[in-house]
């Protein structure tokens, strides 16, 4: 899943990006309000982590602009301004969650997970589709027979995205958008290669290829 991280602190931003990557997300980092608004409008993110005290344009204004444009992008606001009235105002401006600084990394990850599950309308804590159970914490997958298979970072992101959207036709470009960061090499052949590796690990029948259109995970729903 691909996140937009908007944080102007030169130390905290990259560190947070690293933590989020480790947790299995593709992360684009932006350090000002104007770029943030543009990225949020143009790119297909699954969620945004938004600092409010931004140079260029205040975070709350960026958020309001997204909402005015009709975007339902899940947004966690991350800010030092965490008086109760600021949290309420943040929520009214369209934030889905509000986390005050300083925060613990686990807290952010837990809230992010809860937010994504809400956005995908999943209630069960673990992702389980077509006999597979994804362990998001350890980034591995359990087969129906109980065998646990380790996954690389990209494999994990790809499999998670497909498991979230079972039975849907997923084009290569859509998969690329949600699995890779904005500045990475987006050669669609790479996706093909990863699909191939997932099939080797999990069995051929799980992912069906629609030539010229894309892939369907777990058979048609």
């Amino acid at each position: 899943m691909r996140l937009l991280l908007v944080e102007d602190d030169a130390i905290l931003g990259p560190r947070l990006r690293q933590d989020l990557r480790t947790a299995g997300y593709a992360v684009d980092l932006v350090d000002n309000g104007i770029d943030a608004q543009f990225q949020g409008e143009e790119e297909a993110y699954d969620a945004v982590i938004l600092d409010l005290g931004l140079p260029g344009r205040p975070g709350l204004e960026v958020l309001q602009n997204w909402r005015k444009a009709g975007s339902a992008l899940p947004v966690i606001v991350l800010t030092a301004r965490d008086a109760w009235h600021e949290r309420v105002d943040g929520l009214k401006a369209g934030a889905d969650d509000y986390l005050g600084k300083p925060f613990h990394q686990e807290e952010l990850l837990a809230r992010l997970d809860a937010l994504l599950r809400r956005a995908q309308e999943r209630s069960e804590p673990q992702l389980a589709v077509a006999g597979l159970t994804l362990d998001e914490e350890r980034q591995c997958v359990k087969l129906a027979d109980g065998e646990t298979i380790e996954l690389t970072g990209t494999e994990f992101r790809l499999l998670r995205y497909m498991m979230i959207n079972p039975g849907k036709l997923l084009s290569k470009s859509r998969i690329t958008e949600h699995v890779y960061e904005g500045d990475s090499d987006r050669d669609s052949n790479v996706i093909e290669a990863y699909i191939k590796r997932l099939r080797q690990k999990l069995g051929k029948s799980l992912i069906e290829t629609r030539r010229g259109q894309g892939y369907i995970f777990g058979g048609e729903a």
């Binding site: 109760w84 009235h85 929520l91 613990h104």
Partner: protein, 441 residues
């Protein structure tokens, strides 16, 4: 009571009564004089007629010429009387007088007198008397007339005048009441606007008011603006300070969390950053408080409570708490939105922290604002309750886990002259916190 309209009524009423009394007395007095003059001139006339009719025969005996007297003097007690006294002691009196004396005084020639006397049958009379010289004799002629009827008429006129005066007085006061009421209408509107101001429906008073109160209104508006700006500025500055302090603190927290940091250092870092964070949080929250009578935004329960509950649901996303509330639809009077959100946020956060499934919140506004927050958690023991309720007790030290939130709650309650009570919730079984705020005191 110091009422401008009452003062105006009393002032106008008194001056009108004085003025009308003066005019009434003048009219009465003038009428009286006019009647007297009229009667006297008529009596004088009759007196001169009597003098002309007076004859002396060869013996010097006085008689009145026949037919020269008006019939009115012949009827007994008719109210018209005369009496003639000659030098030789003869007395000629009208038949109407029977044998009553009018006055025994003789006048010298040329002398004239007017008197008020009481005549026969207690009639009030005006008596005119003149001294004359005729046929070598000094004669005193007295003519009198009953004025009781005239006086009665005069009195009736005076009463009529008085009645009219009283009616006019009430009419004028009635009209003035309307004038005063309509002149004070802008003031009443101002009063309504001040109520709206307290509820936060408006943030400035209308300056289109009468000249006399305009400077006051302009000054109030200026103060409101200055206070509002000052509050905004200080809250902004505090926000910036929070941002500036918490950035580095956040990095320290992350460092303390980081697996690469040695365990001993991690623990120490965590300890220090926690203390730092609590101190910063507490002092910033305190500094942000506006207090009663501030110029900030007002709190609308129907708008703010659902948002606040949503914030809490996000924080406690893994607990699935059922929040319900009961609150008025309109703005709460005279209480700052930020302050009340801080209060409710902390109380509800605390309840959410300790509850199992349910948190209930109710807000009521009468003379005071009454807030109840209860949960279905384990509650607190009797000892803890006692410690919490104790006056001047530092809440944060007494109850680990109930944290700094209650300390700031206490500060807010004090700012609004309120009370804070803890006991067991009858309905839900957990802790019940009752707050009442009196922002108007």
């Amino acid at each position: 009571m110091n009422s401008l309209s009452q003062r105006l009524h009393i002032g106008l009423g008194l001056s009108l009564v004085l003025l009308m009394a003066l005019i009434g007395w003048l009219i009465y007095d003038q009428n009286q004089r006019m009647i007297d003059d009229l009667v006297v001139s008529r009596l004088e006339h009759d007196g001169e007629g009597l003098l002309a009719a007076l004859q002396f025969d060869a013996d010097g005996k006085a008689t009145l010429a026949e037919g020269s007297l008006s019939a009115i003097y012949q009827q007994p007690l008719s109210g018209h009387y005369f009496l003639l006294l000659t030098e030789k002691g003869e007395v000629l009196r009208s038949r109407s007088l029977w044998d009553v004396e009018l006055s025994g005084n003789r006048l010298t020639t040329g002398e004239q007198r007017v008197d008020r006397i009481t005549g026969p049958a207690e009639q009030p009379l005006i008596l005119w008397a003149g001294g004359y010289h005729k046929a070598n004799q000094n004669v005193t002629i007295m003519v009198a007339e009953d004025i009781s009827q005239l006086q009665q008429r005069l009195l009736e006129n005076a009463m009529l005048l008085l009645a009219l005066t009283v009616i006019f007085l009430f009419l004028i006061l009635f009209i003035q009441r309307h004038i005063v009421r309509s002149s004070f209408a802008p003031l009443r509107q101002l009063g309504q606007e001040i109520e709206q101001l307290e509820r936060g429906d408006i943030d400035q008073l209308t300056e289109a008011v009468p000249l006399e109160v305009q400077p006051l209104v302009v000054e109030v508006n200026r103060l409101l603006m200055v206070m509002g700006q000052r509050l905004d500025r200080s809250r902004n500055a505090l926000g910036n300070l929070a941002h500036a302090l918490k950035g580095p603190l956040n990095l320290l927290t992350q460092l303390a969390d980081h697996s690469e940091t040695p365990e001993t250092l991690r623990q120490e870092l965590q300890q220090h950053t926690t203390v730092l964070q609590q101190q910063i949080e507490h002092e910033l929250s305190r500094a942000r408080l506006a207090g009663a009578g501030s110029a900030g935004q007002r709190f609308n329960p129907a708008e703010e409570l659902p948002a606040l509950i949503k914030v809490l649901e996000r924080i406690y996303h893994d607990k699935n708490i059922k929040f319900d509330y009961h609150a008025p639809q309109q703005n709460l009077n005279n209480i700052d939105r930020h302050d009340l959100l801080e209060l409710l946020g902390n109380l509800l956060d605390n309840a959410a922290k300790w509850t199992k499934t349910r948190v209930h919140c109710s807000i009521e506004q009468t003379d005071v604002i009454h807030i109840v927050v209860e949960d279905d958690g384990a509650g607190v023991t009797e000892e803890e309750l006692a410690a919490l309720t104790q006056r001047g007790h530092r809440v944060d030290e007494s109850l680990p886990g109930h944290g700094l939130g209650l300390a700031i709650v206490k500060e807010i309650v004090e700012l609004y002259n309120g009370t804070l009570q803890f006991d067991a919730s009858l309905e839900l079984g957990g802790l019940r916190v009752q707050v009442s705020l009196s922002p108007d005191q």
